[in-house]
């Protein structure tokens, strides 16, 4: 019984969190019955099930000390063989990846977020 109660509280917290993202107009539409709430149970993403022996933390550390974008691309080429692995790494780095992004673009995004931003900042600040 206690577990059911706790789960119910957690469920309400999830709903409350989602409600915080609604604006006033959306809430009024719901109250008027002009809109309805939908609950979608997400199945486990296949992507999450990719078995990987890649040490993402180690690669990130290695990338962050490199001095050029070219070295970064080289490093990614060395460690990654599939788009899925790169996407997973980008996700870990909290980078926005679109479904249609090609492998080369994902690599560029990763390199820009780990090496490129420092290069451009240093050059503008004349360091």
């Amino acid at each position: 019984m206690e577990e059911i109660k706790n789960n119910f509280i957690k469920l309400l917290q999830i709903v409350q969190k989602e409600f915080n993202n609604l604006n006033n107009d959306e809430i009024i539409s719901l109250l008027k019955g002009e809109a309805k709430l939908e609950i979608i149970i997400k199945s486990k993403s296949k992507r999450k099930n990719i078995k990987s022996n890649i040490d993402f933390d180690k690669i990130e550390s290695e990338l962050r000390v490199l001095k050029s974008r070219e070295q970064g691309i080289e490093l990614l080429n060395k460690y990654f063989t599939s788009k899925e692995q790169l996407e997973k790494f980008a996700k870990i780095l909290d980078l926005p990846i679109l479904k249609g992004d090609k492998i080369e673009l994902i690599k560029k995004k990763i390199v820009e977020a780990t090496i490129g931003y420092k290069l451009r900042s240093n050059s503008i600040q004349n360091k």
């Binding site: 915080n20 609604l22 604006n23 809430i27 926005p96 977020a113 931003y117 503008i124």
Partner: protein
């Protein structure tokens, strides 16, 4: 009394909205706040009074331009002469606090050109002395003002002499920025320019026989603005620019300004910043609450 310049090279980053809301909320909390509008676009001025009132009562003789103009004839106008109390905002305050303003002028853009003619000199020493004099006008002018807890200076989106005057006069620099590629580059440009100005000014001040003191305006932090939220956090396209700025060692505020055209678009029209308005919608209340948290963080950081 703390003096804080709000500045970014890049326009359209919400600089004036930040200044107006910061000042208004501090006044609401009982602080005595003076806003100085140094941007010729006069957006801060027009956030508190309508242009027609400005035209009728202030444009001729009561703007910051008049003060800069008067410097050439020995300073017949003081900054105190220009201070006024915008009515709509102050009517919403209920404590000991107040919010005053020194208005800007669309013609302020020409002041930079006039100040530039005062630079230079026959010798290096003379040029250095003129540099110090031209860049410390506002510092000297503000010295006579002492009735406030904080002065917030809304700077123009450039690094001309008027802007440099604000930096020289300031204890702290507040940088509003949008978390996107070009805006974050603007932060780097600004830091480079700030460092260069401080270095030059202090080099010359050291050899001025104590006529001028060295300056040390400190970057209090970057406030990210116009943030789109999803799932209780900035959307994924914005997050990398926020984290990269932090990784560069630039101080970044934990709180931010959310994008919400519905309430930000017309608030200046009625002379009362968003943070002082009462909204019924949950989203709008959330925006106000976030600004309040940002102001708390700001007040804590500068110790007021």
């Amino acid at each position: 009394m703390k003096i804080v310049s709000v500045i970014n090279y890049k326009g359209g980053v919400g600089k004036t909205t930040l200044t107006a809301n910061l000042g208004a909320e501090l006044a609401f909390r009982g602080r005595k706040v003076l806003l100085i509008d140094l941007d010729p676009q006069s957006s801060l001025t027009f956030s508190f009074i309508p242009p027609d009132l400005w035209q009728k009562e202030y444009s001729e003789s009561k703007t910051i331009k008049n003060w800069f103009d008067s410097l050439s004839d020995g300073g017949s106008i003081t900054l105190t002469d220009l201070i006024f109390t915008p009515r709509a905002t102050n009517d919403t305050l209920n404590g000991k606090g107040k919010l005053d303003l020194i208005a800007s002028h669309l013609g302020l853009i020409n002041v930079d050109l006039e100040l530039a003619t005062e630079l230079g000199g026959a010798s290096l020493k003379q040029a250095q002395k003129k540099f110090l004099k031209v860049h410390s006008h506002l510092l000297n002018g503000i010295e006579e003002i002492n009735d406030y807890d904080i002065i917030l200076i809304d700077c123009p989106p450039n690094f001309n002499i008027v802007t440099k005057n604000a930096i020289v006069a300031s204890d702290n620099i507040l940088i509003p920025a949008k978390p996107d590629y070009l805006s974050t580059l603007g932060i780097d440009y600004l830091i480079r320019s700030l460092n260069s100005l401080i270095e030059d000014y202090n080099d010359y001040a050291k050899i001025s026989n104590k006529e001028y003191e060295e300056i040390a305006p400190e970057i209090i932090g970057v406030v990210f603005t116009m943030i789109q939220i999803h799932g209780g956090q900035p959307i994924s396209a914005l997050r990398p620019f926020i984290s990269q700025t932090k990784r560069l060692g630039i101080p970044v505020f934990d709180n931010y300004f959310r994008e919400n055209k519905t309430i930000f678009a017309d608030a200046p029209q009625y002379g009362v910043p968003v943070v002082l308005n009462r909204y019924s919608g949950i989203t709008y209340q959330g925006v106000v609450s976030e600004i309040e948290q940002l102001v708390s963080e700001f007040a804590k950081k500068i110790g007021i």
